[in-house]
Amino acid sequence: MRTIGLVFTLVLGSTLTGALSAQDVRAQLDRRVSPEVQRAVQVIAADAAAQGLPVDPLVQKAIEGAAKGVPGDRVIAAVRVLAGRLGQSMAAVREAGVAAPGGDVVEGGADALNAGLTGRQVSDLVRVSRPPHDPALTLRVAATLAALGVPSKQTLALLQGLISDGRSPSDLLGLPGQVQAGVARGATPAQAAAGLARAAGGAPPGRLPDWVPPGQRKPRNPHKP
């Protein structure tokens, strides 16, 4: 049980970015989660709100756990982990020079961290996402690509490359589907992403060309008994 109460983080200049009030949190959790979970999540949410972190994802995670029949202590643990990730994301987004990040960017960063990207990679993605690119969208696409199995370094390189090539946000949004299409044709996610990066170089704006996987890889050494 965390013992941190409401700490006013004036040093960080936290802004309650459309965060749910304490009453909202209680109302949302009421009758959806056990009293024990409700109490614990309220504390975690209050702490998060004081740091300027979005609170809704924490509430949603608790409701999700209850709906899935997950034991209360595991739900609390998961909400705590998520709060930690939101905090890490906030730090990473601030590191990129965004003084008062909106909730969706922080959530996007948390998704990206959850999918395996590092804080530094989150910062890098935010940095390159100048208008017309929305860092929240870039981060969501990065998280989706990583969730599909594209290694995070490649995810980063692919997105940075497309953005600097002047591709539109729609092009970024189409990437996960194209990686999936490559995987359906037999490529690994890494290969599919590499193919898209290669194919995109020099291609005119608009839909990225689909990429066809190469032949079978060489088989590994047979299993030693």
Partner: protein, 187 residues
Amino acid sequence: MGVLLGLEGEATDAEVVRAVLAGDVERYAVLVRRYRDRYARYASRMLGSRDVAEDAVQDALVRAFDRLADCREPDKFAGWLFLILRNRCFAEKRRRQRQERPLDSTDEMFAAPDRPDGEYEQVERAHALERALQHLTPEQREVFVLKHTEGLAYEEIAGITGATVASLKMRMHRAYDRLRDLMRAHL
């Protein structure tokens, strides 16, 4: 254009285990496919090598099949498999430690790059941390990996390892200090 197409191909673990135990051996492939990569990151970090991790995961999956009749709670197959893999990782680590040569020079291994370029520095730091992890005790490395790589809470790690939260924190805090020492050129 977007299509959301869900296909039901996902029996529960318990259903697959029961089917395999009833003789449908080929169904075991469902569990192999489902869990082959799930603990790969943990095994890689514990053993310091993706190749060694792959051998460990493979062995664990085969061993889990061998002992499938002992899996008393088929719906907890995932956790049961993880414990088999965990034991395998610790055994592998003990075996390798007996064979390992002592390090020549810690400084050489963790030397910082001379060009403080932002990205290169960050990549180097990640590599340095990975190497440094191999210099922790297996217990320290495991608690660090489970918490910071896999994102588990102390309570969950306690459930897996059987240690108390207090002793896990003690291990972890020693690990932090050791890592700080090993990584001093990179921080």
